[in-house]
């Protein structure tokens, strides 16, 4: 979240789209309710289903899964064409005035620079026009035909209310009603927030969808404002922490993954340290060398020295264009290219697309280690045929599977201490409530014992490239089970000469004199102690900032980009909602997202970026600098905007024999998967109370479709895709209705995810239906919007 849960109470408008917080974030949703109670905030819900959030909303609009960019594009067009945007904010705090090179263009679904052979873009035509000093040229009047504002205006002029209705399946009047409420937050005295979750991230164009949301909020002047922002509701207690720590395709603190073409530290830093594009840009990513060297010092300690590039050589490196995200990993495994896997806190058989492919891929491993509280579908994958043959008829018989599976009993969250990082970016320290039962071990003990044993084998027996393990520092008081407090201190970082805990990332050096496990967490455990365990409830600004409650990254800042809540001269856009004030010598209020002693005019408000301002036009992504509506990989219609380029040309679709795509002739309905309040992912089907609250897998079927098919509420139905099928009860409901898309009536079918073949309650794995189609930037699978058929059993 750019802002945070407590901050949502400051909003006048809450747009919920691509998420269902009443259902999936009920505790955070209290702040939406507080905004309604205290500010009479309006709640707008845009979703394929009339869900629990819609039930308490002021305005609900149904749309077809996969059409969100069209809806947001329509809002952007409506804002610009009717003047419902905050012009001063846009001029001062965004790149609207920047000039783009001659040669940039968009035609028939492709941006300039498309290389059909490589299926990717040459992005050189998406760059800014630079002056002699290397700075971007700007036109603050926003009149230049090649300035970002004019390009944006032209790009979205196609997204009329009628076009939105044609793509999304709502009526133009429904769009108008939602737009009226959402765009009311474009005045200086009103602020709106956007809450989203996996309903936006699980598309083949997901990153651009969130880009579109950011553009809308920037146009309305809502980024950096209390009650504003673009707010991702994270799905697990610590998924934000795992992202921050680089558990995916990055190093900790969002440092880029080293690649083989950056042969040494110098080349890596040169490629990944941006240069300022405007004279007043602070360009904080310019400090990348300090973050990187301090990280290497945390990894390799005394072994990391200037002479050996601080051990850069010992980091694993991906190929120049190689991708090691989920879809690629399992594709490689399916092809037999991976020997073993450690699955820790994850259940890939349940949560990966195309279950049949995942089951087949795991069967090609020599060994699989699963560390879990329960036996999961992944640990029991070899037994799927016996447990659920009717759901997975193609899966191999256990006698044919040679994979050796080790199930290690691991402690659950209540059996260990440490910090959870929540959606608000708060690192909240917790204490263990009880000891792990039986032979279960704490996670860090499992990892540490594996590490120590493998290192011992390397030391005894040698082997290829032993350096990464041999040179790793492991000087914990209890090497076999490091205390998480000790690890947290290490992540915070220290001055190596004095062994003093650092006060924050401002102290990091690139000469090897500091170490830091994650620069954005620096300051969470300074000399004064563990900031994450703080529970102070003071709220000096009255804006729900609570600076003494736990610790928020970065630097305990609660509202990101808060400098943008004031104009260039330092006057708050809304004096009643000013998180920051300049008192003549320094900033007061929230921790400023700005240099703490720099006067208002000195720097651009977006200090991380080389532009110094926020990017409406963002040449960073695979499929274009502006978000464009593309259909899902499986869609019932051709893209009404450009039928020739219907689907995101840069998205990744796997083509192995088991990765089939269907057409609307065989699979006429749109499937969409989602979560329910009663369950948490695939885990609570092991829990008695949750199993009682919702025991049976069901399929939500619109009334119109049910009557066409002769299906009554409670009948058994089968849903089939090109990949597989699921079977369950029909829940026939008027909450889902047929949508008119491109002149045709389209029905959507609702598919909750929580079942599997292991647990107190069992049912089909919903991903037996979904396809191996991924967003090219994030590597997230497309679970919202794929084609299915529905039959009565």
């Amino acid at each position: 979240m750019t802002n945070g849960w407590t901050d949502v109470a400051n909003a006048d408008v809450v747009l919920v789209m691509g998420g269902n917080p009443a259902e999936n974030h009920p505790v955070g949703f209290r702040f939406v309710m507080e905004a309604r109670r205290k500010r009479s905030a309006k709640l707008v819900c845009i979703d394929p289903r009339f869900n629990r959030t819609a039930a308490v909303s002021d305005c609900y609009v149904p749309i077809r899964a996969g059409s969100d960019i069209a809806f947001l594009g329509g809002l952007i067009h409506a804002a610009i064409s009717t003047g419902r945007f905050q012009r001063d904010y846009v001029v001062e705090h965004t790149n609207a005035a920047f000039l783009v090179k001659d040669g940039y263009g968009f035609e028939d679904g492709h941006f300039s620079g498309w290389d059909a052979a490589k299926r990717s873009y040459d992005k050189s035509s998406w760059e800014y026009e630079l002056d002699g000093q290397g700075y971007a040229k700007v036109d603050p009047t926003l009149e230049h035909p090649r300035c970002v504002f004019q390009l944006m205006k032209r790009h979205y002029s196609r997204y009329t209310r009628e076009k939105v209705a044609e793509i999304c399946g709502c009526s133009p009047e429904e769009f108008d009603k939602a737009a009226g409420i959402v765009l009311s937050a474009s005045t200086e005295g009103r602020t709106g927030t956007i809450l989203y979750a996996l309903g936006w991230t699980q598309h083949s164009h997901a990153v651009q969808l969130i880009h579109a949301a950011a553009m809308l909020q920037l146009l309305m002047g809502n980024i950096g404002m209390p009650g504003g922002g673009v707010n991702a509701q994270r799905g697990h207690a610590n998924i934000q922490g795992s992202t921050d720590m680089g558990a995916w395709n990055m190093l900790p603190g969002y440092l880029k993954l080293p690649r083989a073409n950056w042969r040494n530290l110098e080349e890596y830093l040169k490629a990944n340290t941006p240069k300022p594009l405007r004279p007043d840009a602070l360009n904080y990513w310019g400090n990348t060398p300090k973050f990187t060297v301090s990280l290497l010092k945390a990894y390799y300690g005394d072994k990391a020295a200037k002479a050996n590039g601080f051990g850069y050589d010992w980091l694993p490196k991906a190929g120049e264009t190689a991708n090691h995200s989920w879809g690629f990993l399992f594709d490689r495994m399916y092809a037999g290219g991976i020997e073993g896997m450690i699955s820790f806190g994850m259940n890939p058989v349940a949560n990966g697309p195309n279950t049949g492919k995942i089951l087949a891929a795991l069967a090609k491993l020599k060994w699989l280690i699963v560390a879990e509280n329960f036996e999961t579908e992944t640990a029991a994958f070899w037994n799927a045929r016996k447990l659920a043959e009717k759901d997975y008829p193609a899966v191999a018989d256990p006698s044919q599977i040679q994979t050796e599976v080790f199930l290690l009993p691991a402690s659950c969250f209540a059996e260990k201490d440490g910090a959870f990082v929540n959606s608000s970016r708060w690192l909240q320290w917790k204490h263990a409530a009880l000891d792990p039962p039986g032979e279960a071990l704490r996670d860090q003990e499992i990892i540490a014992r594996l590490f120590l044993k493998i290192r011992e084998l390397y030391q005894k027996e040698g082997g290829a490239t032993p350096e990464p393990l041999r040179n790793m520092t492991w000087n914990y008081a209890q090497p076999e089970c490091p205390s998480l407090e000790e690890v947290a201190r290490e992540i915070n970082g220290r001055d190596l000469a004095s062994e003093r805990q650092l006060a924050g990332f401002g102290e990091l050096k690139d000469d090897g004199s500091t170490s830091c496990g994650n620069w954005i967490y620096s300051g969470s455990f300074p000399e004064t102690g563990n900031m994450m365990s703080r529970r102070g409830q003071e709220d000096p600004t009255g804006l729900g900032i609570y600076p003494q409650w736990s610790w928020s990254w970065p630097a305990n800042r609660r509202v990101l980009y808060n400098r943008a809540s004031l104009d260039k001269g330092g006057k708050p856009w809304d004096p009643t909602r000013a998180p920051l004030r300049w008192n003549g010598t320094r900033w007061t209020g929230d921790v400023p997202d700005y240099k703490s002693d720099a006067p208002p005019e000195a720097l651009g408000a977006f200090i991380m970026l080389p532009e110094g301002v926020a990017k409406l036009f963002a040449p960073d992504f695979a499929e274009g600098p502006f978000p464009e509506h593309y259909e899902p990989a499986e869609s019932p219609v051709e893209n009404p905007l450009h039928p020739g380029v219907s689907f995101n040309p840069a998205a990744k679709v796997f083509q192995s024999g088991i990765d089939k795509l269907g057409s609307s002739k065989d699979f006429p309905y749109v499937g969409v998967t989602y979560r329910l309040t009663e369950h948490f992912h695939y885990w609570t089907k092991h829990v008695a109370s949750s199993s009682q609250l919702l025991a049976h897998f069901f399929v939500e079927v619109p009334e119109g479709l049910a009557s066409e098919k002769g299906i009554r509420n409670g009948d058994r139905v089968r849903v089939t895709s090109a990949r597989g099928h699921v079977e369950g009860y029909a829940l026939v409901t008027g909450r889902m209705r047929g949508l008119k898309v491109g002149g045709r009536k389209i029905y959507q079918v609702g598919l909750p995810i929580h079942w599997g073949f292991v647990g107190r309650v069992t049912g089909p794995l919903i991903n037996n239906l979904t396809a191996s189609v991924f967003d090219p930037n994030s590597g997230t699978p497309e679970y919202k919007g794929f084609l299915v058929n529905l039959e009565k059993v």
């Binding site: 209290r30 039930a55 308490v56 309040t677 109370s689 009682q692 919702l694 025991a695």
Partner: protein, 269 residues
Amino acid sequence: MVTAAKLIDTTLCIGCKACEAACQQWNDQEFTLGTFDGSYQTMPDLAANFWNLIKFNEVERNGQMSWLMAKYQCMHCADPGCLRACPAPGAIVQLKNGTVDIVQENCIGCGYCITGCPFDVPRLSPATKKAYKCSLCSDRTAAGLAPACIKTCPTNCLTFGDRTELVRQAESRAGALRAAGYADAGVYNPGGVGGTNVIYVLKEASRPEDYGLPRDPKIPLSVYFWKGPIKWLGSVVLVGGILGTFFHYVRYGPREYRNEGNRGQNPEV
């Protein structure tokens, strides 16, 4: 002595069922698995081991869909029909703070309280042959704690407090909703049972039935006669009934109940 009451603001309820789980956990009720009945609702109706149920009602009017969610449990009436109907001394009690509670040791399992209740709340357990319902967590309130459902509600749609104060709060909230454009918003605070200690804020107050709430709850006339003008006769019948039940019990043992619906057959989870 203040009157302990519960305010349910349905406009803030998101149907998360945390109150259902909290109620069962605090009251040590057994978890069972139900059958699928075509709804998000946990089960069609209250059960002897399930005293607090959120009802999910889909209503479509003038092309406008509403999904109304309302928590359903004992209303703790000022003039409780269950208490009027109960023939067993001390089986149903009304505490000084207005809470109506069943004392299972004294319950004879006759089921008259079910007949007497205008909200159809108490349930007989086939296993113990006693009646059960929400006690407003009298064991918690006696210790100064809020009932479990209220403690656990994430959106603060539930409030616990003195009845007079909660009625004031409810009226003010309904007023705010009307001002925000919900013309039909109002308070559900039926008078027919001497007033209830559970009151609701409803967005569609002119249609309580849409939420599964009776429009004008009244104690059945038969129950009034039972303990009303012919109370003396009632007492004779009561004593006779108890004696009869006693001798019946001594002679024939406990009654075998047929399952009253499939809930009773649910296996333990």
